[in-house]
């Protein structure tokens, strides 16, 4: 569809840790976009397609109080949950950088994202028609939080289901944009992010008007 189909291959010479691409000293402002979805839906693939560094992995841990059950040992009352997540980045200009986070959207991880994604510009919920139910919780939670989001159907080139079918299966609010993408393609991944930013703009305009 696009004449400039560049391969999303990492630039030669980029070390695996991406440390060869330092940010400019003048960088002041970092923005966040979250890409949420079930395992294997292509979150990291989408991040990799547009990131200027090879995606990095790190972990967030959180210790939560137990379920209020008296505990004789006194040490079992807290549970530590660890979730790994991937991220990449896009330098916007001399002062700003955009970080893209790929995060598993299941309910049990969400308490971590509440903290990680505070102040995010918005979110992309990436769905796969084989496991649409993996995205139900993320969609409910984003709606409840009022975080602007769009849904992207990562079809890996398979167009078996129409977007109307996907929208209906997700019971998606008509106001939430739904787009089709191939997360492996840089141009396609880029259009998903552009669609999200347009959606955020329109929400702001609507609110302001």
């Amino acid at each position: 569809m696009h004449s400039t189909t560049s391969e999303p291959a990492p630039e030669p010479g980029t070390p695996p840790d991406g440390s060869a691409s330092p940010l400019a000293d003048s960088t002041e402002q970092a923005l966040k976009i979250a890409v949420v979805g079930g395992f294997g839906v292509g979150k990291t693939t989408l991040v990799r397609s547009v990131s200027e560094i090879r995606p990095l992995t790190t972990e967030e841990t959180m210790t939560r109080a137990g379920d209020g059950v008296d505990d004789l040992s006194g040490v079992e009352g807290k549970r530590t949950t660890t979730v790994a997540f991937d991220f990449g980045r896009i330098t916007l200009d001399a002062t700003s950088v955009l970080y893209l986070f790929g995060a598993p959207g299941q309910e049990r991880f969400w308490f971590l994202w509440d903290r990680l994604f505070t102040g995010a510009l918005g979110a992309v919920v990436l769905v796969d028609t084989r496991r649409l139910e993996d995205s139900f919780y993320a969609i409910d939670r984003l709606e409840a939080q009022g975080t602007p989001f769009i849904v992207a159907h990562n079809d890996f080139g398979d167009t078996e289901h129409t977007l109307d079918e996907v929208r209906s299966a997700l019971d998606l609010d008509p106001a939430v944009p739904l787009v089709r993408c191939d997360a492996r393609e840089r141009e396609s991944a880029k259009q998903v992010l552009i669609a999200l930013v347009h959606h955020v703009c329109s929400l702001i305009t609507r609110r302001a008007g």
């Binding site: 330092p22 940010l23 002041e28 916007l92 986070f101 102040g119 880029k190 930013v197 702001i204 609110r207």
Partner: protein, 118 residues
């Protein structure tokens, strides 16, 4: 990729001198950290590594990924360095959103231009 997965909690305990809290809560995942001095001899190795990494601004999550330590642990290490003036933190301004539409109206335009130019 991250070697700390499944790593002995003892090492994390030593790195943070046994602290599990006390981290600066204002440290966002994308707060940019900038070194204000060079590593010195005798400095804890993780602190020294952070100073080397942050010669150019680097987000908290990126520091964590390079150190192969959980973000929670890195927040504690960074708080040590901030408290002693060895690094400074550039906190993210709130992104424009329907709730805060006037935060910085040109930011979205900037993001769109950069995405189109990818």
């Amino acid at each position: 990729m991250s070697s700390h997965r499944g790593e002995s909690p003892d090492r994390l305990y030593v790195i943070t001198s046994g602290r599990s809290s006390g981290a600066d809560d204002s440290l966002d995942a994308v707060t940019l950290i900038v070194a204000e001095c060079l590593p010195t001899q005798g400095m804890q190795s993780e602190h020294a590594e952070i100073l080397r990494l942050c010669v150019s601004p680097m987000a908290v999550v990126e520091v964590a990924a390079h150190l192969r330590l959980p973000v929670t642990v890195v927040r504690i290490l960074l708080t040590d360095l901030i408290d002693t003036g060895r690094v400074t933190a550039r906190h993210p301004a709130p992104a424009p959103s329907p709730a805060h539409p006037l935060a910085s109206p040109d930011v979205l335009e900037k993001v769109l231009v950069a995405l189109h130019n990818l």
